[in-house]
């Protein structure tokens, strides 16, 4: 106890800050999701009701939005695995002196935030952007191909933004995997594909799972990237929540939408924990 005393005290400011700026507003968010906004006013009625949740789960529009957001997140995870695994393997095994530089470049999208690279992508993908401009000047197209305001555009942005979250955990896992394991498998007669499938992939699984969960949750809750690249035409769940909160000013309904997304992520987190426990036992 004596050793713990001072350390516990030192956590007090942090805990107090979290209580004030996160826990208290969060409690209000939970409560407000059970309030309602009567017709003809923007004021809220704090009588507890399930009307917001009923609306979300009975209206196909919101369920479709949820499905679309889940789909975009899953595809982002899949593309990130395919693109990220070779990069992580290269960094862990082959990069040598380039390792630090490569890691720094990989970290850039995380360090500079979502807005800057997304606006860069707008210049690249817009109807008057570099991609369409090049295609037009080569005479391949007359009118621009829509890339902004499409799911493809959003996917490009999400993968670009969150790829490092896949690569970094994978590098951490592959670093601890001695090359001698693969050599041992080869010496026992395994073909290269078998080495990958039977040795490398199972041992890299914790990194793959961690990276997938990170990329999935980041994509699911991403707002800036889908909003800018989707140009308000592709409604993700975060965009729907923002529209209700900031434009329609129906805060109770927006709170309920936020709670549904939070519930989904909690369920996913729980499922991963159960899976890992199952894998260990």
């Amino acid at each position: 106890m004596t050793a713990r005393g001072p350390a516990s005290w030192l956590t007090a400011p942090g805990v107090a800050l979290i209580a004030c700026v996160f826990l208290a507003p969060f409690a209000l968010l939970v409560a407000m999701s059970f309030w309602s906004q009567p017709n003809g006013t923007l004021l809220v009625d704090p009588t507890p009701t399930l009307v917001n949740y009923e609306r979300i789960f009975s209206d196909g529009y919101y369920l479709r939005g949820l499905g679309r957001t889940l789909w975009l997140s899953l595809v982002t995870v899949a593309v990130s695995v395919v693109l990220g695994f070779p990069v992580a393997f290269w960094i862990a095994r082959r990069a040598g002196r380039l390792r630090r530089l490569t890691m720094a470049v990989m970290l850039l999208p995380i360090v500079c935030g979502a807005l800057l690279p997304t606006l860069g992508l707008v210049n690249l993908l817009s109807p008057l952007g570099i991609v369409n401009g090049t295609l037009k000047s080569l005479g391949l197209i007359d009118r621009s191909i829509p890339l902004l305001g499409t799911q493809t555009g959003i996917l490009i942005g999400l993968v670009q933004a969150f790829l490092p979250m896949m690569v970094l955990p994978l590098v951490a896992v592959l670093d601890r995997l001695p090359p001698s394991y693969e050599e041992a498998a080869k010496s026992l007669g395994a073909r290269p594909a078998q080495v990958w499938r039977r040795v490398v992939l199972p041992l890299a699984a914790p990194g793959l799972i961690a990276g997938s969960v990170l990329v999935f949750c980041a994509s699911l809750t991403s707002f800036v990237t889908p909003q800018i690249l989707g140009q308000g035409k592709i409604a993700t769940f975060a965009a729907m929540t923002w529209q209700q909160a900031s434009l329609v000013l129906d805060w109770p309904f927006a709170s309920a939408l936020a709670m549904v997304m939070l519930g989904l992520m909690a369920a996913l987190g729980g499922a991963v924990l159960v899976l890992r426990r199952g894998a260990r036992s």
Partner: protein, 343 residues
């Protein structure tokens, strides 16, 4: 522009005179908080309303900049303890804010009230008059341009729209319903007609964005609100702006509101009076091409031609039932997302 300089000089002279007369310094140390849009609007309000008020009263005027939706959210969040004294809102927000008790009803006995065009002070005081018309690429669209031309198959998929909810979107719904012989109280007809336009080529969030695409021929037409658009258009040779006649352009107003139970009600009333004065209104018209609501504002021939500034012009505009429209906001937003954007 000559009128504008005159106005600026007269305000400057007035301010000097007021600062010389060291009377009414009763408000020293107080800060009036005014919520409005950034850019030119803030600059004009600072020059023509805030500075004279500061010099006259010794108070400080602080601007809180952002979108009007942010200000609505702020007013609702601070209902019991407002920090904002004056706020500028849209035509559809003001009546709702009044109905919910967030702003004070315009004072009919105040001298400035009778200077404003009658019937305009709906919820708050009317600050400026603009109309929803059509911006178009002159090479792709034949003049004169009417609303019905937007439904021409030749421009299908080449219409840009403002994101919904917005006055532009509500205006387009009102127009679409009228083209089918109905009005905004018949949303089924309105949405069916707007849906025929197909998904918008662009959901524009800035004028540059839509004009660049219109210039390049990727966008043919866009329902847009006069004012800023007319001022910005002077830089684009092949883009025109039309006020259609069948039906006429949709009247859109900016409103200035005094927040209920605000910390500085007297200063707020004085600021609003300065904002609605002929000087400020003339500057709005000359520089931004926003039509004045003050009947005593005198405009240059150029500004008069580009703005809605006479009772007859106001009469020709299409007026929507905004209190009804705002009551439908939640449903219509969902419907717009589904029917127009195909989500």
């Amino acid at each position: 522009m000559r009128m504008n300089w005159k106005a600026t000089w007269s305000v400057a002279a007035l301010s000097l005179a007021l600062s010389g007369a060291a009377t009414a310094q009763d408000f020293a140390g107080q800060t009036l908080v005014v919520g409005t849009w950034g850019g030119d609007i803030e600059r004009l309000l600072r020059e023509h309303a805030a500075r004279p008020l500061e010099e006259k009263t010794g108070a400080k005027v602080e601007f809180l900049l952002g979108g009007s939706g942010d200000r609505m959210a702020k007013m609702y969040a601070e209902k019991s303890n407002p920090t904002m004294d004056v706020t500028f809102q849209n035509i559809y927000e003001a009546p709702q804010a009044l109905a919910d008790g967030l702003v004070m009803a315009p004072d009919e006995s105040s001298p400035i009230y009778s200077d404003l065009w009658s019937g305009m002070n709906d919820g708050c005081y009317a600050m400026s008059l603009v109309g929803l018309g059509i911006a178009y690429n002159k090479d792709l669209v034949e003049e004169p341009v009417e609303w019905a031309d937007m439904w021409d198959p030749a421009v299908k998929g080449m219409i840009a729209m403002a994101p919904y909810p917005s006055s532009e979107g509500d205006g387009l719904l009102g127009v679409a319903a009228r083209l089918e012989g109905s009005d905004e109280h018949d949303p089924d007809t309105a949405f069916a007609k707007v849906r025929e336009l197909g998904a918008p080529a662009l959901n524009y969030t800035s004028l540059d964005e839509v004009f660049a695409l219109m210039d390049a021929g990727e966008v043919a037409m866009a329902p847009m609100i006069s004012g800023y658009v007319l001022a910005a258009l002077k830089e684009w040779d092949n883009i025109g702006f039309a006020f259609p006649t069948d039906p006429g352009p949709v009247l859109v107003r900016d409103m200035v509101c005094q927040v209920a139970n605000s910390p500085n009600p007297e200063l707020a009333a004085m600021f609003i009076e300065l904002a609605l004065s002929p000087e400020t209104q003339q500057a709005y018209a000359e520089e931004l091409l926003f039509g004045p609501t003050n009947s005593k504002a005198v405009l240059s021939a150029q500004a008069a031609a580009d703005t809605i500034n006479t009772p007859e012009e106001v009469e020709s505009l299409l007026q929507l039932d905004w209190p009804y429209v705002i009551s439908q906001r939640s449903d219509w937003t969902e419907r717009w997302n589904k029917d127009v954007l195909g989500q």
